[in-house]
């Protein structure tokens, strides 16, 4: 969601991996050893490596060709893991009503989860719509501070709730909020615990990082099935999957906050005789508060992005409305349920972000509207509104709804009809789709699959070594080899070709838009709600228009990926460019550089760390949509993951899911230059 934050198994500093694009602070100022040109730094080692590579290739390529011949990954070298997985699947079904592991532990978890969510939902329902409305608005206002920014955030909350009600989605919204409250609480607690462990011990940190990466890159579709088998359909499985996906940002940012604590402060508290626990409580945790709040913000966003997937196993709420609209091919209805999801995200994002901004700012005490009395006022307002329910009823008044389904559907038909073909000169989306498939996707896929398997491995190793160290090359090669061992070689190359194409398009458009945004502040203000919507609108909502425009084709999958990944790239690029040292710009201007020269020679090179982060986020986010792309014709690995879930074949889905994680690892290693370690 808001820049689904992370890198597949990256070895970069957590700072980079975790920064939210909305509030990106581009790291790596140290890299900007100004003055010296980057090219000089880069050129020589690369040239040297190229020479070595050429020599190696001259020996290895003919040798491998003789030994292994050509063709895809040999079947003899692969292992089928689906058998044992399917056995595990069966064991769970046979034992879950009787085995002590279930009776004394897992069933408790699932019953507690169900009770917690229905408890929150019943409480919200009992408050009546006026009570919930007032609580949302007043607490947003109080949390964001009482000045102008507070009023703005409160107004956002007001608008969000009003639209949810007007669209006729009040009840579904409440159910989704109930699930979110429980999921975010669990994810935040889990995240803080992991974060504490990793923040206090380097070894735990090293051990946990790949785990956190996998938690986010492994498609939820792949592990939804085992969760359903163990915890049951409905709330429990949905809740636990959401927690897994949403906990990592909290964990990473907590770790980051703890590690970033000013050593002088810690030193001081030690010298005052504080023990480890006191030091943690009085110094380290308070200092990490800001990062932890950002973590919470990201956790909320990630949790919301799971709403529709949760509906696939019967969690209900807004996700179910979106999902069921798909079966009647009703874009309008899907949109009516998708908009509230976006609005909840915006409401929570602005509230937590505003609360975060206030941390550390000295708050003026006293006055009726400050401190405790401010909270009391908000609480009193809510209580009064709850009482109103006896007058206004508990559920949103039926008359106050507005059906947007029909007009939206008409608009969608008109737009797709007029854009898909018959535009003079440009042709239309259908023609583009066909040309892109024939001239870009097909050659790329055919080229990749035509390469002998050992050549792909050598290529990956060479590329990874060029940008990194021999360790990078080793990891990337092993990940690629793992794909072969899993027996999904050809499909993975098909997926890889789509991912690469999507990545190139995303980066091209994203960097271009980012540059424009950085140069024209007004444009960015206009774009912000659009970018928000692109990131938080469930992809299921725009699947039908995408198919109507581009057909059942891999291009549709790529379009879906670009829509989802673009905002993060735009934001990170714009932020990076804007943070370029003004002195450097000033200097170049005084030397008579033109605007274009400034951009190409000064801004872009100096914003390199930000651009690298943009590439990294592009990789992660494009991979996150591979599964969704399969729903519109992407095929390959994504299709296997969906098939595994819908046909109950755990082995198939897990294998494809793991292959996606491996692809992420390969792409991460060959796109992220090695970072100097301090």
């Amino acid at each position: 969601m808001t820049a689904a934050v992370t890198t597949p198994a990256s070895d970069e500093t957590p700072e980079k991996a975790d920064t939210a694009p909305a509030t990106v602070k581009t790291q790596g100022k140290a890299d900007r050893s100004t003055g010296r040109s980057f090219r000089d730094l880069m050129r020589h080692p690369v040239k040297g490596k190229l020479l070595v590579l050429a020599a190696l290739a001259a020996v290895l390529v003919p040798l491998s060709a003789v030994v292994w011949g050509s063709g895809p990954w040999p079947g003899a070298l692969s292992v089928d893991i689906s058998g044992p997985l399917d056995d595990a699947n069966k064991w769970v079904i046979d034992n879950r009503d009787s085995h002590p592991l279930f009776l004394y532990f897992l069933l408790h978890l699932s019953n507690t989860a169900t009770d917690a969510v229905s408890g929150v939902y019943n409480a919200l329902d009992a408050m009546g719509w006026t009570g919930v409305f007032a609580a949302g608005v007043l607490f947003a206002w109080r949390a964001a501070g009482l000045g102008r920014s507070g009023v703005k955030v409160a107004a956002t909350a007001f608008g969000a709730f009003a639209v949810c009600g007007l669209l006729g989605m009040w009840d579904a919204t409440l159910l989704t909020i109930a699930l979110m409250v429980v999921a975010v609480t669990c994810a935040a607690l889990l995240g803080v615990l992991i974060g504490l462990a990793a923040g206090l011990s380097d070894r735990v940190d090293r051990l946990l990082r790949p785990v956190l990466d996998t938690m986010q890159v492994l498609p939820a579709f792949a592990y939804l099935l085992p969760f359903v088998l163990v915890f049951g359909t409905g709330t429990p499985a949905a809740l636990f999957c959401t927690v897994i996906y949403a906990a990592p940002p909290m964990a990473r940012l907590t770790t980051l906050g703890l590690r970033g604590a000013d050593p002088a402060v810690l030193e001081a508290s030690t010298s005052l005789g504080a023990n480890a626990w006191q030091r943690l409580r009085t110094a380290r945790l308070p200092l990490a508060r800001k990062q932890m709040l950002l973590g919470l913000n990201q956790t909320i966003m990630m949790a919301l992005s799971m709403v529709v997937i949760a509906a696939l196993v019967g969690a209900g709420g807004l996700g179910e409305e979106v999902y069921s609209a798909l079966s009647t091919v009703d874009v309008g209805k899907a949109l009516a349920a998708g908009i509230p999801i976006v609005l909840i995200a915006v409401w929570l994002d602005r509230t937590t972000a505003a609360a975060g901004d206030r941390i550390g700012r000295s708050a003026p005490g006293g006055g009726l509207l400050h401190g405790r009395s401010g909270w009391a006022l908000a609480g009193g307002g809510v209580a009064a509104a709850v009482l109103l329910r006896f007058v206004a009823g508990t559920s949103w008044p039926d008359g106050w709804t507005f059906a947007i389904s029909t007009p939206v559907n008409k608009a969608q038909v008109w737009i797709t009809e007029n854009l898909s073909s018959g535009i003079p000169v440009l042709g239309g989306t259908e023609t583009w789709s066909e040309h892109f498939t024939l001239w870009v996707l097909n050659p790329m896929r055919d080229g990749l699959t035509a390469l002998p398997w050992w050549a792909v491995l050598l290529l990956v190793a060479a590329l990874a070594w060029l940008v990194g160290t021999w360790m990078t090359a080793l990891t990337a090669t092993l990940a690629m080899a793992a794909i072969g061992v899993l027996g999904v070689w050809t499909k993975s190359l098909d997926t890889l070709s789509q991912v690469l194409a999507a990545l190139v398009v995303t980066l091209f458009l994203g960097v271009l838009a980012g540059i424009l945004c950085a140069r024209a502040g007004r444009l960015e203000r206009w774009l912000r709600p659009v970018l928000d919507a692109m990131q938080t609108m469930p992809q299921f909502v725009y699947l039908i228009p995408v198919v109507a425009l581009f057909g059942v084709a891999r291009v549709s999958a790529i379009v879906a990926a670009v829509v989802y990944a673009l905002p993060a790239v735009v934001r990170i690029t714009a932020q990076g460019l804007r943070e370029v040292d003004p002195a450097a710009l000033e200097a170049s201007r005084s030397l008579g550089a033109s605007t274009r020269q400034q951009l190409l020679r000064v801004q872009l090179p100096l914003a390199r760390p930000a651009l690298q982060l943009a590439v990294n986020q592009g990789v992660v986010l494009v991979l996150a949509v591979v599964v969704v792309g399969a729903l519109v014709g992407g095929g390959a690995l994504g299709y296997d993951v969906v098939k595994g879930l819908s046909r109950g074949e755990m082995g198939l889905g897990m294998t494809a899911g793991v292959a996606i994680v491996c692809l992420g690892l390969v792409l991460d290693r060959i796109t992220q230059p090695a970072r100097k370690r301090a």
């Binding site: 049951g232 359909t233 696939l312 798909l326 699947l543 039908i544 729903l631 014709g633």
Partner: protein
């Protein structure tokens, strides 16, 4: 360093303590909230396709309005629904297109699910072309002539071969094997979801383009789009026994209902009503068309149908 370690140990101990507290008694396997308030509740699954939504909507409407039950519906995938049925998280599946693996596991081995009888609707899967295409080339409706039209059916995705449009991974398909074993110059293209497949078909029809698709009846879209089935080699008992060697058409499937075993025994009037529920393909399509074609809510469509067809559903009610 030492202190940090103490801290870590304490944290681990605390976590273990909480765990052991929660684990001191066995959990209930059934769901406790069923009994709340003495209200009679029936839980049904809502499958993702509209025909099945129509069944569920009509059954829910009659259960609530005529028999005084409260119906909870839950949307989920087919295989997940079987699992939930076995656990008692849902009480009945109203339309099943055949899941031999699950039937063996839950009905025969574990006996947690029982058959609920025929739905009365017969499902059929096959290959279809649009009527305007078949009218122009009548011989396209025989598989032997499909290769002649491969060029017209080709798309950018099918690499020079004719495209056979496939649907959601949920659905049973033998098409890759059929194409291979009949030696056809066709290639499957998996849409990945029913919504994408329907959108693609609607798009082709609007442009009057030829296409070939995996399709089935009953389906609400058949009321809007005229499709003609392509004859495949005739289905004979057992010709689909080996998935790799299939070279014949799909069988006709009498759609089935399945009930949770406990519910079937103790479900009273509701269980009896669901066992009696049986209607025709046309009746189901009528409701499905209201939902999908006219975009009515399932509840409204069910209400309209129930009001107009009292004679039919009165027979489903349990005999007093």
């Amino acid at each position: 360093m030492n202190r940090t370690r103490t801290l870590r140990t304490t944290a681990v101990a605390a976590a273990l303590g909480v765990l052991s507290l929660s684990a001191c008694s066995a959990a209930e396997t059934g769901k406790s909230q069923d009994a709340a308030g003495g209200e009679k509740t029936v839980k049904l699954t809502v499958p993702s396709w509209v025909g099945a939504q129509a069944n569920t909507a009509v059954a829910s409407y009659i259960l609530e309005e005529e028999l005084g039950y409260k119906v909870k519906t839950q949307q989920m995938g087919e295989v997940l629904a079987w699992d939930a049925l076995s656990k008692g998280d849902i009480d009945a599946i109203m339309e099943d297109w055949g899941h031999p693996k699950e039937e063996k596991q839950y009905v025969e081995d574990r006996k947690t699910v029982v058959k609920g009888g025929d739905l009365g609707v017969e499902g059929h899967i096959g290959w279809f072309v649009p009527k305007y295409f078949a009218d122009k080339h009548p011989d396209v409706t025989d598989w032997k002539n499909l290769d002649k039209y491969a060029k017209e059916l080709a798309t950018a995705e099918s690499g020079g071969k004719g495209e056979l449009l496939e649907g959601s991974p949920d659905y049973v398909t033998n098409d890759d094997a059929i194409i291979k074993n009949l030696g056809l110059n066709l290639k499957t293209n998996y849409a990945g979801s029913e919504a994408a497949q329907i959108t693609a078909i609607q798009k082709y029809v609007k442009a009057k383009k030829p296409f070939l698709t995996y399709w089935w009846t009953p389906q609400w879209l058949n009321a809007q789009v005229d499709l003609v089935e392509v004859k495949l080699p005739e289905y004979k008992e057992g010709c689909d026994a080996d998935p790799k060697k299939i070279a014949c058409a799909y069988p006709n499937t009498p759609l089935q209902k399945f009930l949770n075993a406990d519910f079937a025994k103790n479900g009273g009037e509701a269980a009896e009503f669901l066992k009696n529920f049986k209607w025709t393909t046309e009746q189901q399509n009528e409701v499905a068309q209201m939902i999908a074609g006219e975009k009515m809510s399932p509840e409204a469509a069910a209400e309209k149908w129930v009001k107009a067809n009292e004679a039919t559903w009165k027979q489903w009610l349990p005999k007093k």
